[in-house]
């Protein structure tokens, strides 16, 4: 008797444990569609999402939006996705360490969102495509397979470039350099006063520097060639010129840069600019909020400039970081998800987002901005400056090859003298060639 009880007890425990591991998923209840939205909680916070969802639910009573938001959203949705339970809408850009978006792009596991561009914004008379800023779709960031299909909708955009202390420039009577020659001349002047010309938070931040530089040096076609791994593109004169400029600039880097260029200490590099111990650093508009509490030199005022032009008067590009919203092709309620995405571009939603400093690429939004943001987004108004969106093209994964790491992280070794420009160029060419073969 007792023994069978024990056996029964053991069996219950085992099944209980196993059942606990496979918590049942919910389903949509009578008539109402449950739309699962997953979003990265970035610098903009979470309130804007709850507000926008509340507004959406008010006009769509048959839809129940479930929001999952976290600073490491990948870790939370990935296990469910592997078990086949996909969110319907995901707000998550590329360039994160977990690389979930990139992985799904490589897997071709995203829903084609081209139809959304032609859809009317709910409650308005214009289509989503018409509302978007020109040139924000149709690049590698939104159309990762180099065709006309848009898989990632641009959600927020922000200019990235060289950040500096406007106050210091006024004090010293310096002019923000508009060509690289002026830049290096300023570097020599500042060096005499003990201020290094350049620093970067971590080498990864050089993305805002490099992409623009490549386009500045060789134009958009050259930039696209590099991003799509054209054969021997890194052996060209343009590529060499970009590396020459970079190597020369790194020569002016603050000596502390490499030692602080890690996840733990990168704010110390950013602090160098606040303390007038370095003039420029590549960064994004989030820097204002990120360093809001940090002490700073007297008269400090954030400034943002595009990279100097290669020759006087030539076109300058400003790398624009774009966060994306997408639908996994395995999502359950794709139609509802597309409608929801279209709603995200409504005036109502855009206003809510903009209040949290999340600026959407909607025509005319810049004129409604205020404060530092207004100034940062003004860089786009300069006729000689063009936005540059995108990044390296997606290929099938190549084991052991990470061209972003080769392009950016090597800067650390250049500054510390552990490698040379020639070796850098060879490594880039090698990585690019391997990816090109994988892309074919």
């Amino acid at each position: 008797m007792r023994r069978s009880l024990v056996l029964a007890g053991a069996a219950v425990t085992v099944f209980g444990l196993l059942a606990g591991c496979s918590a049942g998923g919910g389903g949509s209840d009578s008539g109402r569609t449950t739309l699962k939205v997953a979003a990265l909680e970035g610098g903009y916070g979470r309130d804007m999402y709850t507000q926008v969802i509340k507004q959406y639910e008010a006009s769509h009573p048959d839809i129940d939006v479930q929001l999952q938001i976290s600073k490491s959203i990948e870790d939370e949705i990935t296990p469910n996705m592997k078990a086949g339970r996909y969110p319907d809408v995901v707000v998550l850009g590329q360039g994160r360490e977990a690389a979930l978006t990139e992985t799904l792009i490589k897997d071709k596991a995203l829903e084609d969102l081209t139809p959304v561009l032609k859809e009317k914004v709910p409650g308005e008379n214009t289509t989503v495509g018409d509302k978007l800023t020109e040139g924000i779709v149709g690049n590698l960031n939104t159309n990762p397979y180099r065709n006309d299909q848009t898989y990632l909708m641009p959600m927020y955009y922000a200019p990235t470039g060289l950040f500096y202390n406007q106050g210091l420039f006024e004090q010293k009577g310096w002019k923000v350099p508009s060509t690289w020659d002026e830049m290096f001349a300023l570097g020599d002047t500042a060096k005499k006063q003990g201020i290094p010309l350049f620093t970067y938070p971590t080498a990864g931040y050089l993305d805002s520097f490099f992409f623009a530089l490549l386009a500045d040096v060789g134009g958009e076609q050259f930039y696209t060639d590099v991003m799509t791994y054209k054969k021997d593109v890194w052996k060209t004169a343009n590529a060499r010129k970009a590396l020459d400029i970079t190597t020369r600039l790194l020569d002016y880097a603050a000596p502390a840069t490499v030692g602080y260029a890690n996840e733990q200490d990168f704010t110390k590099n950013q602090q160098l600019v606040l303390d007038n111990k370095a003039l420029f650093m590549p960064n994004g508009t989030w820097i204002v909020g990120e360093m809001a509490e940090a002490p700073r030199a007297k008269g400090f005022k954030w400034g943002l400039t595009p990279l100097p032009a290669v020759t006087a008067g030539s076109k300058r590009y400003i790398t624009t970081s774009v966060e994306s919203v997408w639908i996994p092709s395995a999502a359950e309620n794709k139609d509802a998800a597309k409608d929801f995405i279209a709603y995200l571009y409504s005036d109502e939603a855009a206003k809510t987002f903009a209040e949290s400093n999340a600026i959407q690429p909607i025509e005319g939004i810049v004129s409604s901005l205020s404060g530092e943001n207004a100034e940062f987004y003004k860089v786009y108004e300069d006729p000689s400056v063009a936005p540059l969106v995108g990044g390296f093209a997606s290929t099938a994964p190549v084991e052991g090859v990470d061209i972003k790491a080769t392009l950016f992280d090597t800067a650390n070794s250049i500054i510390s003298g552990d490698t040379t420009e020639n070796k850098w160029q060879d490594a880039l060419n090698d990585a690019s060639e391997k990816l090109r073969q994988a892309g074919d």
Binding site: V6, C21, A98, D107, Y260, N262, Q264, P397, E399
Partner: protein
Amino acid sequence: MTTLSTPTPPPGSTNHASKSAPVGGSSRRGTRGPARRRGNTRFVLACLLPALVLFAVFMVVPTMNVFRMSFYTWSGFSPDKRFVGLDNFSRLLDDEQFVRAFQNTVALLVVVTVVTMGMGLFLAAIMTRQRLRGRNLYRFILYIPNVLSVVVIAAVFSAVYDQENGLLNSTLRLLSLDGLQQVWLGDQKLVVYSVAIAMVWQSLGYYMVLYMASMSSIPEELYEASALDGASAARQFFAITLPLIWQNLRTTLTFFIMSAVNLSFVLVRAMTGGGPDGSSEVLLSYMYKQAYTNSSYGYGMAIGVVIFAFSFLVSLLVSRATRREPLQF
């Protein structure tokens, strides 16, 4: 049911019963014994079952999966996995980053083991043999790092290693040793050792306490007798203490191997992120980067297999090399 409810004869009658019917008695005992043993076995199995199932589901199956996935090219999500045989492994041989991560792991394994073990033994011997004043306080202080989370340790060492006003460089300046100042986390040749120091600091107290526990169980007479024979403290340490805690030392060696693999990963991720330029990458951090950031799950799993085989092999070798007849006291 029946066995349990069978009335047992009263104690007094046992003798009588066995005397009068010896054959029946022995046969009865003969049938009952194995039955009970069988019952026990079943009971023991039933008790073990939950643990075994958990072990199988969460340890054995995933480990098998690691081995299986290492033969595939797979991004981690897509339904199409491509079998590539040993391709992932042959690629590893040409991957400079992997070789560097391997070298770093081995360097950490050797440096951290030697330093932690040496210092742990030394401190434990002093704490148990010498009647130091305030040794409880020392023990407490040395043990504290072990309960700190890795993020805290990373923050502590970021403050220690800071190149401008860090504890280390400031102290060197104070001692007029300016020439010895280093960019501890920025110098590619130094950064692994900077991580190693953090690892030693973190684990020293733990091993010290382990060694102290086994040292304090060595009978005092042995030391008294050897002292009468004129043995010095050092002689006592090598002739009495070390041989008698040898089994304990062997166990901790396995711990060292595991911590060199696991702890180095968390510390590297929190302190340097593998940088600068991959110079402090260790096997597990490189595996993570490949499996997730680079969407090469199968390749990552191949690295996982190498880690498994490496730690298994080193543990085996160390265990073989240190095998001795256990000494009793």
